[in-house]
């Protein structure tokens, strides 16, 4: 990344940046640092409950693991397409930048949909934040699962919206509103996603505010910063997948 010039408005009037990066990139790294601690605390809470409850339920069977593996594959592929998008942006290829970002978003949406189906299945089996059908003593199972994966799913959703804004700018707003209506009206009224769909609406409002108050063309730097965020979200999943799924599966010889 060192080949990016430091775009100081009045170059030469300031000391070179300590890490040779421009402000927005440093800002994103710092945000990710604090978000690491936020997720770290949630993972700590999960591990704490996990260790102190020896009879932790292990309900994830073959189908769940296969599903989660496909989800992991989606995120890994999306990281690859994101890197390709950043490279395309760096060599100034606008159409491929947009295409690679759209691929990334596709994988992100696939992840959210697969995860949503997983949630729906678990909820149908009787799992809630406060109880689960597999163990009456270990109540945290549902709480930790929904908190960790829910927080992560929210980050993925924000990431998809963020990428959409960078790739399509104002053209993304109507798509976002259609997605919101589809997610809201397409889910049964008692589903958690019926309410959760409004995250998309909030995202659309925030995105509209940003784009109308400060209209600008997103350049290679913006793509790179969005990529940093996206890779971080993928990385978090690489902790959640083994800790939450693989460690809660029943291994039968």
């Amino acid at each position: 990344m060192s080949d990016m010039a430091v775009p100081h408005g009045m170059a030469g009037e300031f000391e070179p940046s300590l890490f040779g990066a421009y402000s927005k990139k440093i800002g994103m790294w710092l945000f990710l640092l604090s978000d690491t601690l936020t997720f770290g605390a949630l993972l700590f809470a999960y591990s704490y409950g996990r260790i102190s409850n020896p009879d932790w339920p292990t309900p994830f069977h073959k189908e769940s693991i296969i599903n989660a593996t496909i989800m992991t594959g989606c995120l890994l592929s999306s990281s690859l397409t994101m890197v390709l998008g950043v490279l395309a942006a760096r060599r100034g290829d606008r159409s491929w930048t947009r295409n690679w970002i759209l691929f990334t978003m596709f994988f992100g949406v696939a992840f959210i949909v697969l995860h949503g189906m997983e949630w729906t299945k678990l909820i149908a089996e009787g799992m809630t934040p406060s109880k689960n059908p597999w163990s009456s003593t270990v109540q945290q199972f549902g709480g930790t699962f929904f908190t960790l994966t829910g927080m992560h799913m929210m980050h993925v959703t924000i990431g998809v919206i963020y990428l959409g804004v960078v790739a399509l700018r104002k053209k993304f707003l109507p798509i976002l509103l259609i997605c919101w209506l589809a997610a809201w009206l397409g889910t049964p009224a008692d589903s958690v996603f019926h309410v959760g769909a409004h995250v998309i609406l909030i995202g659309a409002i925030v995105a509209a505010m940003i784009m109308f108050l400060k209209p600008k063309d997103y350049d290679a730097h913006d793509v790179e910063i969005a990529g940093l965020y996206w890779h971080f979200v993928d990385l978090v999943w690489m902790f959640i997948f083994p800790l939450v799924y693989l460690m809660s599966t029943r291994i039968t010889g």
């Binding site: 000391e15 402000s23 409850n53 406060s130 549902g142």
Partner: protein, 576 residues
Amino acid sequence: MVAQDAHAHAGPQGFIRKYVFSLDHKVIGLQYYFLALAAVFVGMFLSLLMRIHMIWPTAILPLVGEIRPETYLQLLTMHGTIMVFFVLTTAPQSGFGNYFLPIQIGAPDMAFPVLNMLSFWTTFVAFVVMLAAFFAVGGAPLHGWTGYAPLSALTNSGPGEQLGADLWITSIAIFCIASLMGALNFITTVLDLRAKGMTMMRMPLTCWAWLITAILGLLAFGVLLSAGILLLLDRNLGTSFYVPLVVVNGQVMGHKGGSPLLWQHLFWFFGHPEVYIAILPGMGVASQLLSTFARKPIFGYKAMVYAIMAIGILGFVVWGHHMFMSGMSPYSAFAFSIMTMAIGVPSAIKTFNWLGTLYKAKIRFQTPMLYAIGFVSLFVSGGLSGPFLAQPVLDIPLHDTAFVVGHFHLIMGVAAIFGMFAGTYYWFPKMFGRMMNESLGRIHFVFTLIGTYCIFMPMHYLGMAGQPRRYSQFTEVAYLQHLMPLNRFITYAAFVTIAAQVIFVINLFWSMFKGPKASDNPWESTTLEWTTATPPPHDNFAGHTPVVYHGPYEYSVPGAAKDYVMQTDPAGVTAH
């Protein structure tokens, strides 16, 4: 988007954009300052009610009525929360830091001005939500500022634990987000926007303190945010992160399998760095002022920088010393104890260097300097009881007594507030273009210094004699009867000290409009804020960026024309 571009033109003229939703770091700094000023009076009023209740438990007060024991706990909770979050975290870091960090490093503004505005208004919302807890059904929560579970995690554990506690934790979560935005902005500004010649090792110690504080905030508040979200889930969705099987009023609650210790770990992982978030900016201000008014370079600049870093790093590995009473393994208690006492080393380095700065100096005893010296005094007095409490064997008898109250009020509360007073008297001319009244300042200092010592020193004795903290109505307890005269003395001292703060408020607001006009550099300081106009123009240096040639504390340099060399003085002498 580069910050400098946004500030190349003149500032906004409309009232709303200029004073309310301003992007100017100086206006935002003042907004933070006045928010903290409002908060400190709320917090102080609550502490006054607590002191009154401790010696006249049945008194019927005008407007407030009778303070019942549970009301006392609510006062205690809100006093602690408001003071820690909205005063000690807000004023020294966000207030003074916002105003002076960009100017001191020669930047036209913070790196992200819009984010800066958002972080202030988010803090404001958090404050409003916190105050709303007073008016919720059942009143404010009573679980203390530390919000220990399961008391805080159950909705029927006491008055104020319904809506009031939800508002309390929501406010803290909002405050976390605001602090994270602020911290991110501070660090980026320091890394990216230092003027030519302003190397890291030429930054004033105030900037170093704000930088390290911002790093602490960035790492600590994210954890509290998660802890708060989990607490909200426990309270509202019936999860069991913090709650084991409990029975309240004969009724078995639905929770099972959680651990109250989890909350304590998460909370104190934030809570201990928070102590340094409160005190480090005060250390920076004290260093700056001692050097300026002693007319000597700061003794051991590099040692000061490394000591701040060491305190910051050690601050993250000592949270367990708040939990010696919580049933901790003796081995981990031992480790936490050693680490905690290790903090005494960088703290002693700083104190030694402050005294070294004062040694054989021609000191100008003006009000800011008095407060800086007062800061050192309180830091030493409060700090010396730290190594006592750091040892599990001594902490166990002392932990739940007034000893701890005396300790942390001296070092974290009053010392940090002295840092704020020092900063106010020192930077007031730059902020408002007028001088504060010197006589009123000195009277205020004498009353405040002696008053706070009279309040908090006896608490150490009370604690050793066995007076517990967090309890009310000691008048009914036989074995504490002989301590009542001392308790009465503390309350009277609190009356006087609080009354003395009126002098400060009068001085502040009178001087703002009627004080004598200040020159650009009334204290003959060397740092960049004193090179620009008073008050500074919208982009701080009227269109140009200063060039820095010297370290921050070039006082009494042999061979120089005056007894100080401005950082921007290209002539000067070629000192280090």
